[in-house]
Point group: D2
Chain length 336, copies 4
Amino acid sequence: MLKFDQNRPMDIIPIGRVAIDFNPTDIHKPLEESKNFNKYVGGSPANIAVGLSRLGKKVGFIGKVSDDSFGKFVTNYFEENNIDTTEVATCKNGESLGLTFTEIKSPTESSILMYRNGIADLMLESSEVSEEYIKNAKAIVVSGTALSASPSREACFTAVEYAKKHGTIVIFDVDYRSYTWKSKEEVAIYYSLIGRLSDLIIGSKEEFELMEGIANFEDKSDIAIANRWLAYENKIVVIKHGKEGSVAYTENSSYKIKPFPVKLLKSFGGGDAYASAFIYGLMEGWDIIDALEFGSASAAMLVASHSCSEDMPTADEIQNFIDLKKAEFGEMVARG
Amino acid sequence: MLKFDQNRPMDIIPIGRVAIDFNPTDIHKPLEESKNFNKYVGGSPANIAVGLSRLGKKVGFIGKVSDDSFGKFVTNYFEENNIDTTEVATCKNGESLGLTFTEIKSPTESSILMYRNGIADLMLESSEVSEEYIKNAKAIVVSGTALSASPSREACFTAVEYAKKHGTIVIFDVDYRSYTWKSKEEVAIYYSLIGRLSDLIIGSKEEFELMEGIANFEDKSDIAIANRWLAYENKIVVIKHGKEGSVAYTENSSYKIKPFPVKLLKSFGGGDAYASAFIYGLMEGWDIIDALEFGSASAAMLVASHSCSEDMPTADEIQNFIDLKKAEFGEMVARG
Amino acid sequence: MLKFDQNRPMDIIPIGRVAIDFNPTDIHKPLEESKNFNKYVGGSPANIAVGLSRLGKKVGFIGKVSDDSFGKFVTNYFEENNIDTTEVATCKNGESLGLTFTEIKSPTESSILMYRNGIADLMLESSEVSEEYIKNAKAIVVSGTALSASPSREACFTAVEYAKKHGTIVIFDVDYRSYTWKSKEEVAIYYSLIGRLSDLIIGSKEEFELMEGIANFEDKSDIAIANRWLAYENKIVVIKHGKEGSVAYTENSSYKIKPFPVKLLKSFGGGDAYASAFIYGLMEGWDIIDALEFGSASAAMLVASHSCSEDMPTADEIQNFIDLKKAEFGEMVARG
Amino acid sequence: MLKFDQNRPMDIIPIGRVAIDFNPTDIHKPLEESKNFNKYVGGSPANIAVGLSRLGKKVGFIGKVSDDSFGKFVTNYFEENNIDTTEVATCKNGESLGLTFTEIKSPTESSILMYRNGIADLMLESSEVSEEYIKNAKAIVVSGTALSASPSREACFTAVEYAKKHGTIVIFDVDYRSYTWKSKEEVAIYYSLIGRLSDLIIGSKEEFELMEGIANFEDKSDIAIANRWLAYENKIVVIKHGKEGSVAYTENSSYKIKPFPVKLLKSFGGGDAYASAFIYGLMEGWDIIDALEFGSASAAMLVASHSCSEDMPTADEIQNFIDLKKAEFGEMVARG
């Protein structure tokens, strides 16, 4: 199992994308007709940072923001949420923060319009990653999107190199976004290079197939995939199947969790809540199945809310949610 | 004086920037604290197009929009405002529409945050400019920002080349925006190349100084500047001095106008209203001083409104505004 | 006629491309089989500079070279040939000098292989063009290739702006090379912008058709083309027809010259010799037809030699060549 | 020890840089004064390919050449040297072959001038690497320079991924060239990612220090470095010390070789000869010390010759050279 070094002052450091989400207030229409928007901090690792901080963990962040009002909005928001911003770098060449305009057409139809050209988070440089910071943390979370372009790609490998040197746990959250990558080949190459070095991988079935896009092994069953990545340094491999639930594989066992029943508002944001609460459970030393259940509950809460970051729940809120759902649907509502 | 060919079906074609303005609804605070925004069509030539259409002119547009919901929002909006969109091209390589987030800190302090990397309007190509379209119009308006980068720069020169060949009036609205240009030298070079070919230039004193930034003549008085540009093909040169008003120079005369007194909401958008209403007056065959007064009145109305495009007034509205102000402050409230 | 200000210390300043020619010594085979090469200074304006210096003119140069042995080779060569190098800038970002590997398959089949990516000469910046230098010269020669990319393009317009301000004659040598341009539209736009400002244009019929590629006038006869460009500021327009000879047009007259009979070694380099010797004649105050004959003779000498720059003749050598050819073929060997 | 699969039809496939060397014939002067040059195929993996082919191995090549006379020169040369060219791709976007102009000032002072902007070899794409080709080969040689930029970098990782899948031996020849890399951080990152996957690494002490530039371990002794890389998948790690000789480390042993005494003509090219002959020895199943001696002899022969590729020796020639040197200087002339 994952062994977090309990002597380190910082719990966890997500690395990578931080952006702004503009979510329409006049929802249930196509984006071109929406005329009013709310602004939230967004980006998968930023959401995970907020999620883990709300759960009481001591959270840092390695990333890069624009040198303007939007960059300031992000660091202000992190500070309000007790996320350490000492290692959030600031762009010097006029790059802008990434933007995500979401279309919430119906509970199941959500599309997004991204501003990703010349974007701050991908400008993070190797030299802006602090060895000391990583040495003092129990774990880092590398978000796959940060691998999509240089110099952010190299900054991630630098962080992983420091983590390996100092025994900091490396969590790889695949978080594939097609528009940030040049080609499927690059996706496969850089995902599998990180996946060979990480201690825990969280990804959807499709994301694991992308990771193995070059090698293209014949046996594409979950168990075969999980075993291939467990053969490197990974102790846990989580394969997600959307509405079908997800499975965590270890060397000898597997653990299955289903989604909690909930009234959807939108179809995104769940993954970041899942990752935060699952990692939280692992860091607390819980059994894998309990951590999975916590993750699944947090995900269910998020897809019923308007924002991603702003609506991340506390541990008590998640526990209440689980208790309520179990009362209504039975103890095994999400388990196996 | 400018001779518009009255036999042509189209009145006027602005060329260049079209973008989206996000104006905060929670105004009078710094941008990083604004959390809710309204979305409007923006960009100087787009605003001028809307302005002239509201004034009853038959308006076309030469520009380029993104192949997404935002691009669709722009063409929908143009169509609702009776602006012909047959020559609005669509990007094919994933470029995004420019965005302008405005900060309305106080009536006189407004700053903006621009998204201008990999932006649709600057991707307009020479080959996307239709000779027939320009041949059938009385005038084109070249907006200086469209000269700031290739291939949009070359598209403008192509439009001007067609205009010269067919006797279409060329109006050069300088509209300088520092963040779109590589260097002051490029500004001077391309402004002065267009300024040598245009029939009417509208710019602030600072913009004319930029235009002459390479030649750097000793005599920088308004009259000397105006005469240098009238010595090429220009019939009218308008030099604007902000709150001090503006002056239109012709070969033998000059005409001065002042701003109308008005309660400011924001400090931007006035220039586009001014240009629309002034050009409208000229196209109607009015005396220059009357056209200037109309421009000044429209500008005053705009800086008291929340949007740029959406609040462009009709001719009746401008006339009512002028009548009211004259009733209150006297006939010469804006004139010399 | 062109009026050169005789009070100026410098005669002429070519602007633009300077590169290195590698000409095979094992000629009359395809380039992939050539295994030994001689190295010469090359590039049209560099060749013209050498040509005019050999003819006794006081010659400067505005251009940019690499910060390496090849850049040093160029400035050394210029100095050996009495060309002033005070305004030859040096690249600071590792750009390389352009290279031209020539294939001399037969006297009439020559192809070239160019190295033009990230090349020094196109890096010349506006701010590296000295107003004083141009003010002190009788004429500048703008080579069309220097217009093919930024920032060299803007440097040329800056030079022309200074020349217009100070009455320095502007000679536009079209020198079209397809591989340096992005599109035919750009060629047409920038050629015609310079052609509207120059005092003398030298180009082939094809090059004039490229210049008018946007306007695309119906009447494409030599006389119509010449008149269109004489209608701007040009006093002389020279249209070249290869083996058929060339014609110089002025407001009221035209002058025709044919090639001198000569045994060809290679099919390139003649144009630069022609330009040098023709300009030399004009600067000496000769009749246009005499200047043309001198140009034609120098061109004939060059195509019979191995290099372009190194074999540029002196005035005496050209005169001897003309005398010999006239003795052999008659007084009118090249004239009309 | 390395286990080459003897059933495979192809012996070895170098991957990466292929370029043209222009070596001056008028040597012993600075490059700016050299006026005549011989043209040779160059680039480290190309030289190694020629070297191994001369030694009788069945050699392929994965690389990319320009679509011009120089590209044709390379493929012709490879074919004359029995190197399979079926997997040498051709550029489609006008890229040029890299060029190396060498200055041979004295036997120990050689500098080079590189043309590396927009260069063919770095354009090799992932999708141009054939899984079948690598599956059918006993070994591949990844040259570090091919890792310096995308898409060639990704093509190398793709090749290595195929090699790992099919049990093809991966040889990493570090071959560091500062001018092809963006930063020392990138060097460290990509070298160490390949170094974790390879079976044999050949590099100088300085190159190994670059590889460990991020991790920056305290113990920088040869043995510590070797052990760190042997702890991954490497069976042999060769650390070179220039004139001091080199050492090959295996899990339990080390083998030292010195240079053979020879009259230097130039100070480059030796490394590629060394790699070819050493790899040849390993593939023949020789003892490591014998393979090292063969490598050292071939290196000595190369630095006494004018070209790199063209002068690669056969096995008989190397053996004769060793025999002669041993006759003159004793059996242990190069050994330990």
